[in-house]
Symmetry: C2
Subunit: 338 residues, 2 copies
């Protein structure tokens, strides 16, 4: 058994077995050209020392590592769900997964984080990467699949039908009798944010409700950014009777702000979100939202990446998954319909 000291390397094994490192490598990788007795010697040396090949050294030399990467700038409920899907898709596939997340939670909103992280992994450590909500276009020598791409991105991607989901929410609110519906937008560089805003605009237009630009608040997807925006909307003399936020995290903040202001939800104000993160069901009242199955986003992205790496992907470059309106207690008919 190895001591706690320096890690056991291939040359340690070679020395003990009385062979060269090349032979050890051949044994480890099951290559042809080693006698049975030598294999046995090497095996027992490996056993005795507790040797395990270094992922780093292997990946530096080899082109193929059987490791896929996932790059993200932060780690929230959204990411966790995606990861579950990714792991399930990779189960029994022979691919291991490395997730790279950096610690500068908000510092890296400086555009380009995805490209930097990708460059550090791709080409050496990983055979391919999934990138979650990048801020811009991504380039890489190895295959890449993007979850929630940036606007105008041409990389293979998996995304939810954000437009349909957003129109469904707004139609739901319109159906309840709301006419002044505030909107808290997400980071504009993301296609998802843009599509959700388009859905909002389109649903209003089709219902013949004029758009009031004052009711659109521009935020990032960062939940913290939503609090002042919600407050500004609700402080207006002609405040909206409903608020639709482009993400659940922001919607839950808005809900909190409404409570703090002494407003009754859904009596005085209806609130709706987008994503259906687990916390939304637990909120009081439960948050009306759009389920976009982040699990499936992850699952499909991983499935696609596997095929791309193996070179046998046949499907389309962009996968769009359906969404589903989830009505809970946070939306109701306005108390004083306009």
């Amino acid at each position: 058994m190895a001591k706690g000291g320096a890690p056991v390397t291939m040359s340690d094994v070679a020395r003990l077995a009385g062979v060269s490192t090349a032979t050890v490598s051949r044994v480890v990788n099951g290559r042809y050209g080693v006698s049975v007795s030598t294999i046995e010697q090497v095996r027992s040396a490996i056993e005795e020392l507790g040797y395990e090949s270094s992922l780093v050294a292997t990946s530096l030399r080899r082109s193929r590592t059987n490791v896929l990467g996932l790059v993200t700038h932060s780690f929230q409920s959204y990411t966790a769900e995606v990861l579950k899907g990714v792991m399930d898709a990779l189960s029994q596939s022979g691919f291991d997964l490395i997730i790279y997340a950096n610690s500068d939670l908000y510092g890296t909103y400086s555009d380009g984080w995805e490209q930097r992280h990708l460059a550090r992994l791709a080409g050496t450590l990983t055979d391919g990467c999934i990138v979650v909500t990048p801020s811009g276009e991504v380039r890489s020598g190895t295959p890449v699949v993007v979850i929630d791409p940036a606007r105008g991105s041409t990389a293979p991607s998996v995304t939810a039908d954000n437009f349909a989901g957003a129109t469904a929410v707004v139609e739901h609110l319109l159906g309840l009798g709301h006419r002044r519906i505030g909107f808290i937008a997400g980071r504009a560089s993301l296609e998802a944010a843009w599509s959700r805003e388009e859905g909002y605009r389109t649903a209003l237009a089709e219902a013949g409700v004029p758009l009031d630009p004052q009711l659109i608040a521009r935020g990032s997807f960062n939940p913290e950014s939503a609090a002042p925006l919600a407050r500004a909307l609700l402080d207006r003399p002609d405040r909206p009777t409903a608020i639709f936020a482009a993400s659940d995290g922001m919607a839950l903040k808005a809900l909190q702000v409404a409570k703090d202001l002494g407003l009754d939800v859904p009596g005085d104000l209806s609130v709706a979100g987008f994503d259906n993160i687990p916390e939304s069901a637990l909120a009081e009242p439960g948050l009306t939202t759009v389920d976009q199955s982040m699990y499936r986003l992850g699952y499909e992205a991983a499935r696609m990446l596997k095929s791309l790496v193996r070179g046998d992907w046949e499907g389309p470059d962009r996968t769009v998954l359906p969404t589903r309106l989830v009505v809970r207690g946070s939306t109701a008919a306005p108390r004083n319909p306009v």
Copy 2:
């Protein structure tokens, strides 16, 4: 800008800037001994090519990488919560995080997965590692912190007060009037599983309730393993009036089984779990359980690991976090008290 082709290496930069790779390395790492004009040339070459240093190559040569690792054998709700805590603890710390998970979801229960994964990362890629629920002792040249260690493990660890949590649940059930309380145990090699079972036994003993060995079902923590165990318990002629499972995943399975058998929960059967994963609050009825704040487990483990890597850890080697009983709808007084 780089094409989609081969990744940009340091020698590419060196060639363009007309210097050696050594000089580029010095510029990248801010070392002394480069003239201002040369720095400028190298900088612009880096900019032009979009160069980013390879994590792999760097870590192979250097001892310090400023990357911490987390090793896990699967990815479930439990792991996701832990990860959030880890990420928050690492925020702004200068340490990046790499999570390594392998795809053989169940194949790797073959003991020793943690040691294999650890050996592949430690000593090269990462400065230290967090290992989640290992099956045995872990050894490494770099610092390691274990979340939910194996029984008898001596490595620095973070764990919840499993014993106190389990006794609290059983006392709660006893207080409701239950006397026949089934127990679905976890993987015996884990200290957490053992402590929870000890808590169960102790609480019964202190209440003067004799222990019926037939009511203890031995499983792993794998939720799937719990279904047949729960069914076996409930098929008994003298079936228990309550079931306490050593994890929420297993408890939720037991709840499902009870429903399938036409039993009313909590009327005919009370069910309680351990962990307080998000799904437990959403179950119908809500699952009574023990909150062990997986977020804090992750947070404390990361805090400890940071200090260990920097060599300034002062606290104890084992951190035990308090637990909290969460009573929901799945437990009530038995309909026909014995």
